[in-house]
């Protein structure tokens, strides 16, 4: 057994697992995704080095298995993260369609940023017309993906499913625009309640 190489490989596997977890599963920051490639390479390198280090010069001593068990536990925990953490209850899609037409101007939606109320499980189709002089975009933070940025005069349509009941915010994701007022309330209510959509 080559102790130096053994320690290095255990270290590489540990770092690689953490990197892959942060990049793919942790859902902390999108930019962590950029790190996944190098983390994967480090992980593969560690896995390739481990048996060479262990079996060099003869059968490995029994203690050398302990870090590997720890790594397997870390690995199961990190790679199996989505399965271990209880997923949020699936919202059944009711199939009810809600169409919303918004006009985006320079630093407002429909001039007053009205509240949007939709029933849970409905398919929301948002159409935004840019009547301003600069690019804008649309996102219901925590519910919908971010739209592309669209320029003056363009119209953008996106649809998404209204998930968990709660109060969210819709906004323009162009830096600085939400602070300037392009932000309003987006409320998802239970489907049996009466809905008012502006």
């Amino acid at each position: 057994m080559d102790r130096g190489m053994y320690l290095a490989s255990v270290f590489f596997i540990f770092i690689g697992l953490i990197g892959v977890w942060l990049g793919l599963f942790a859902d902390i920051s999108e930019t962590f995704y950029e790190m996944t490639g190098i983390a994967l390479v480090v992980l593969v390198l560690g896995i390739a080095m481990l048996p060479i280090a262990m079996f060099k010069g003869g059968k490995p001593p029994i203690e050398s298995v302990i870090p590997i068990i720890a790594l397997v536990v870390v690995g199961v925990f990190t790679i199996g993260w989505p399965y271990i953490v209880p997923a949020q209850e699936e919202v059944p899609i009711t199939g009810e369609k809600v169409s919303i037409y918004l006009i985006a101007g320079d630093y407002w939606f429909n001039e007053t940023n009205p509240d949007i109320i939709v029933p849970q499980g409905s398919i929301v189709e948002v159409t935004i017309e840019n009547q301003g002089a600069i690019v804008h975009s649309f996102q219901v933070f925590g519910v919908s993906p971010e739209s592309e940025w669209f320029g003056p005069g363009e119209t953008y349509t996106m649809s998404f499913v209204a998930g968990q009941v709660g109060e969210y915010e819709y906004l323009c994701t162009v830096p600085g625009h939400a602070e300037l007022g392009m932000i309003g309330r987006f409320i998802i209510v239970e489907s049996n309640q009466t809905t008012t959509t502006e």
């Binding site: 999108e30 962590f32 390479v41 001593p61 602070e179």
Partner: protein, 447 residues
């Protein structure tokens, strides 16, 4: 007598010419360096530097090929890279290998540094080699950094902006350097960093190699095959995206630089003084490694005898890891402004770094103090050797030779078909099999 008068055959002439050349080459510098090919299977930790150098050569070869099509002007740079990537035969392959080889070279160089640090190789009159090694490592990172600036996509311009801001913030010599490197704008800048990237920095590195290389170089063809093969496979599996073309009217996007300058990016995002964060602290970090042989004067070679080196090593690894990962973190909340999203709280950031230093240096000190008490002298237990019969190994080697022919055939066929990705994977696989064959032969002959 008749045998002596026999006319020399062609083979005799070739051998004679070979000996003639070798005798003349002995008078040159070439034979001053001795390549040692190990006759047993040895750990690659001993020749990580050689592997780094092989990667440098791969970078040189692919870089020269890229130079045929790259145009270093502001308007053409991105388009020429796009042309190489999309249109030119094998252009995508060459570009991917060049990119991944730069990552690999930095990784191997850093690995080399930490292995030499922990195994105290700098002690046996190797101080000069150590210092030039640290300089070479820094140059490698700078070289890779200006290399990816040449693409002129949004990511590159972010990196250029960081570099320019740091240059201007340096007192006294900063404006001078800016005059030389940046000139009057992007057009000057890109031509100049291109010259630095393809000529000046590689030249400086090659000159430094003469002070860095030890006289006996271990050259292990098997490991070289495995490393380069893995590099090819990685290049085929993870093609590097081109990114969006930079143009001045597109608003700033949230993006992060390459992993090796992320520590610097994290330091700058604390929004303290640029010169202090971006120039002084990284220089101090590099100096911390450079002075290791001069502050660690202990006689012992074991880690427990060298608390300073152990502390520097552990804190170096942890600080690099934490700052790299932190550099990748950007607040995902789009409600905040761009500056708010990329800002890092300096109190938290430096708190963590100081804590890392306290823990690693304190831990190293405690380890050196109590290691002998906790650990009894290691018992001399003989490891039971694993017995594999000679026939089995020979059989495996023969099977690998057949597989090698097959894989080389497949790769050539794939290149003919035009499937570059699969062809590159097969080429990489053939190099890896070559490495294993060479190890198998070594295993047979060393018994």
């Amino acid at each position: 007598m008749s045998q002596e008068e026999k006319k020399p055959t062609l083979i005799d002439k070739v051998i004679e010419g070979y000996e003639w050349t070798i005798k003349r080459l002995e008078r040159t510098i070439l034979f001053g360096i001795r390549l040692v090919i190990p006759n047993k299977i040895v750990s690659p930790h001993g020749f990580l530097g050689m592997l780094t150098f092989i990667t440098f050569i791969v970078l040189g070869v692919t870089g020269v090929l890229l130079m045929f099509y790259y145009r270093p002007t502001l308007t053409d740079a991105y388009d020429s890279v796009k042309l190489i990537n999309d249109e030119i035969d094998f252009g995508m392959v060459i570009r991917n290998i060049h990119y991944h080889a730069s990552n690999l070279m930095i990784f191997l160089a850093v690995y080399h540094l930490f292995y030499q640090l922990f195994s105290s190789r700098y002690k046996i009159r190797n101080e000069l080699i150590w210092v030039t090694g640290v300089i070479l490592g820094t140059l490698t990172i700078v070289e890779a950094y200006i290399g990816y600036d040449l693409i002129m996509n949004i990511r590159a311009v972010l990196a250029i902006n960081i570099g320019a801001a740091l240059t201007y913030s340096t007192p006294f010599i900063g404006p001078l350097i800016a005059n030389v490197v940046i000139g009057t704008g992007f057009n000057d800048l890109i031509l100049r960093i291109y010259t630095l990237h393809v000529l000046l920095f590689p030249m400086i590195m090659i000159i430094l190699f003469t002070i860095h290389f030890p006289r006996n170089l271990v050259f292990d063809p098997g490991m070289v095959g495995i490393i380069i093969g893995s590099l090819f496979i990685t290049s085929a599996l993870f093609p590097v995206p081109l990114g969006d073309k930079y143009s001045p009217d597109v608003p700033a996007q949230v993006t992060v630089p390459e992993w090796y300058i992320n520590p610097l990016y994290a330091l700058l995002r604390t929004e303290l003084d640029k010169f202090l964060m971006g120039v002084l602290l990284p220089t101090l970090f590099i100096m911390m490694f450079m002075v290791v042989p001069f502050v660690d004067r202990s006689k012992g070679m074991k880690l427990s005898d060298r608390p300073i080196a152990l502390g520097i090593g552990v804190s170096g690894i942890l600080q690099s890891l934490v700052t790299t990962v932190w550099g990748f973190y950007v607040d995902p909340d789009p409600r905040k402004s761009y500056l708010e999203r990329i800002a890092i709280d300096p109190y938290l950031f430096f708190g963590v770094l100081i804590l890392i230093n306290i823990v690693s240096f304190g831990g190293a000190y405690l380890y050196s103090k109590y290691a002998k008490k906790i650990q009894p002298a290691p018992k001399r237990t003989r490891q039971e050797p694993i017995k594999i019969s000679q026939d089995t190994i020979e059989g495996i080697v023969y099977a690998m030779v057949i597989a090698e022919f097959f894989v080389v055939g497949v790769s050539l066929y794939m290149y003919l078909l035009g499937d570059l990705t699969f062809g590159l994977i097969a080429t990489g696989l053939s190099l890896i099999i070559f490495g294993f064959i060479s190890y198998g032969i070594r295993l047979i002959t060393s018994r």
